[in-house]
């Protein structure tokens, strides 16, 4: 299955902080963009000599179908996607994005939400704030940032929900944790805690909540995502005729086999149905499927080419003609 993409035009681009850039994206053909659930992200195909696919939270109301907004912090040590957004994207450019999906949705049964953001981790909570406010669900947003004058999007959130926002100009996170020590001690049953920010800050909040008796099922985390999917290229050899194929970083093993004219059976292309199971004669697969049993995985005798890859550069020798 090819991933479907939406074509969007960059309507506006501006700096929210010295290293944070906001992009407003609108559909190129006027067709409304899909509505989404709070906490959703889109995968942006960032152009450049080495194109990147990076996931960014949608920082707008979840019913905003005429325009999406993302806010991107430049990570000079990253794989290059955020630098590309800062350096190579300008208003008027057309970008491909994948439709919204969500690994950080609010729990609909929660009677109250405690939202905790660190730095650019504020972005998913913009859609939370719009939705919870509209639904009349109780929530509070604790936002720590390093900018002395206020973090990205702070003004906007304070205008949207003034009673809910608690701001901490706090590069170390110590004031935030001290405040949360009190907050997390006093919230009623039915409250859910959602956290997004740098890993050390999230770990500290989770540890604090755990110490205060919060069950894991009431704590929800959004890690700054490094987009998975195809990564390193590798080589494949067909045991039958000895042919060698190269699998590129942006294609699956199954797609590469199909491009070479091989008729591999498939159904789901998601690593669950088992239809495309292929024998491995030599080499070590990087198993990413949900079909093979732990024993089958350990044997490295099989690979599910729709999602799995090769551990290393290969070649992975497949039992194919």
């Amino acid at each position: 299955m090819a991933v479907t993409t939406l074509a969007v035009r960059v309507a506006e681009a501006r700096a929210l902080a010295p290293d944070v850039r906001e992009l407003v994206l609108e559909p190129v053909d006027g067709t409304p963009l899909p509505p989404f659930s709070p906490g959703s992200h889109v995968v942006v195909h960032v152009p450049g000599e080495r194109p990147r696919k990076n996931a960014y939270s949608l920082a707008c109301a979840p019913w905003s179908t005429d325009r999406y907004r993302i806010a991107v912090r430049r990570l000079d040590a990253g794989r290059g996607g955020s630098v590309g957004v800062h350096a190579r994207v300008a208003p008027g450019d057309v970008l491909a994005i994948e439709p919204p999906r969500n690994l950080f949705a609010p729990v609909a049964r929660a009677t109250r939400h405690v939202l905790v953001a660190g730095g650019i981790g504020i972005t998913p909570f913009v859609s939370y704030a719009h939705q919870l406010r509209a639904e009349g669900v109780a929530f509070e947003l604790h936002y720590a940032f390093r900018e002395p004058g206020g973090g990205p999007l702070l003004d906007e959130l304070e205008a949207l929900c003034p009673d809910a926002v608690h701001a901490y100009a706090d590069p170390t996170g110590q004031t935030l944790l001290a405040a949360l020590d009190d907050v997390l001690s006093r919230r009623p049953l039915g409250t859910h805690l959602s956290v997004c920010g740098p890993a050390p800050m999230m770990d500290a909040v989770v540890a604090l909540a755990g110490d205060l008796g919060w069950p894991a099922s009431r704590i929800h985390l959004e890690r700054f995502s490094v987009e998975a999917g195809p990564t390193a290229p590798f080589e494949v050899q067909l045991a039958g005729d000895g042919r060698r194929l190269s699998v590129g970083e942006d294609e699956s093993l199954l797609e590469a086999l199909e491009a070479a004219g091989l008729d591999v059976p498939y159904l789901c292309r998601q690593g669950i149905c088992g239809e495309c199971r292929t024998g491995v004669v030599d080499g070590t697969p990087d198993h990413r499927d949900m079909f093979l049993t732990p024993e089958e995985r350990a044997s490295d005798a099989w690979v599910m080419p729709c999602v799995s890859r090769c551990a290393g550069a290969g070649p992975l020798v497949l039992d194919l003609p």
Partner: protein, 339 residues
């Protein structure tokens, strides 16, 4: 579907039989996570089925009336927990959008901002409403839209890494109960199914559903058999249909015994992040199955080789052997036919 189609439960036209989702791809059957991408035609050896997520066929008016009858007798067949309100609206938006696109002769949807004007010509119904405004519809939104669908629709709420069955309508269920299962975890609902847990089928399906993303629909088929052309075989009315399984006579098999196939779709709803399963039930009598010789032969082999625990779970115990004998006799007659 011809607009003049009769609203009677009188069986299938040859056209309907040709697009029956005959579920067997081999001469033996075993559970599998038989999931594939939806909205693409699936060949059945005669024609194809599965072009759309919601199907509208010649039984539309009859099944809509049958659903209304069941709901009038037992309102608990449709239930929506309060936190599923947004998911209910997702179903309204999904169904109206797809039906207007896929069956423009029967349905139309005009959108202006959050306002909608919906026309269902098959039911001569016109409704203006505002999305996510419950008061703008004459009844609860999920019940309003599912009373216009042939599908039963079940909704799973995603809470963290778990999925809970928190809303649904079930008037055409195959021996299960919405009222009993509502609120259960996905894995609990499937607890009674033999083999699938050890085989990893259910855990894999669970992982798949957890990761399902908006925008792409998937589907699978499931099957059982029903005596009589009866859609409502929910557990609540077991006394009405259960005894038929024991009283079925050999000479009635062609007319009364039906292959019952469910086409189940999986859709991640965009606004609520809930998972939706529309389930469309298709019935074909064995006489109708026998109009396609390849299906009759395959069904004989599948039923004949079905392991006993599956026979028992599917409720076929009382008549499986008789049905195999009947199919064998029919198939033998055809083979000997000098034509």
């Amino acid at each position: 579907m011809p607009a003049t189609a009769l609203s009677v439960p009188s069986g299938n036209s040859p056209e309907a039989i040709a697009r029956f989702p005959f579920p067997f791809e081999a001469d033996t059957y075993m559970y599998a996570t038989n999931v594939e991408e939806a909205e693409r035609p699936h060949p059945n050896g005669v024609a194809t089925w599965g072009e759309h997520v919601y199907d509208i066929d010649e039984h539309y008016r009859f099944e809509i009336a049958e659903r209304a009858r069941v709901l009038a007798a037992d309102p608990a067949r449709c239930q929506v927990m309060p936190h599923m309100r947004l998911a209910a609206w997702d179903v309204v938006e999904d169904a109206t959008t797809r039906l207007a696109r896929d069956f423009p002769a029967h349905f139309s949807l005009e959108r202006r901002g959050t306002e909608r004007r919906w026309v269902n010509r098959l039911l001569e119904l016109e409704q203006v409403y505002v999305v996510e405004d419950d008061g703008s519809l004459p009844m609860e939104p999920f019940e309003w839209i599912t009373r216009q669908l042939q599908e039963d629709v079940e909704l799973l709420d995603q809470r963290g890494d778990d999925l809970y069955f928190d809303a649904g309508i079930l008037t055409f269920g195959a021996d299960w109960s919405l009222d009993f299962d509502l609120g259960m975890h996905f894995l609990e609902i499937h607890g009674p199914v033999p083999r699938v847990h050890e085989m990893g089928v259910i855990p894999r399906a669970f992982q798949f559903l957890q990761r399902l993303t908006p925008g792409v629909a998937y589907r699978r088929t499931n099957w059982t058999m029903t005596v009589g052309r009866r859609l409502d075989t929910c557990t609540e009315v077991y006394p009405e249909w259960g005894p038929d399984r024991a009283s079925l006579r050999y000479e009635e098999i062609g007319e009364r015994l039906h292959l019952r196939v469910e086409v189940q779709h999986f859709v991640r709803l965009p606004r609520s992040n809930a998972v939706m399963f529309p389930i469309h039930t298709y019935l074909a009598s064995l006489d109708e199955i026998c109009t396609i010789p390849a299906w009759a032969q395959r069904l004989e082999r599948v039923l004949g080789s079905l392991p006993q625990d599956l026979v028992d779970y599917k409720g076929l115990t009382r008549y499986r052997d008789m049905a195999v004998d009947w199919l064998a006799e029919r198939n033998a007659t055809r083979t000997e036919d000098p034509r």
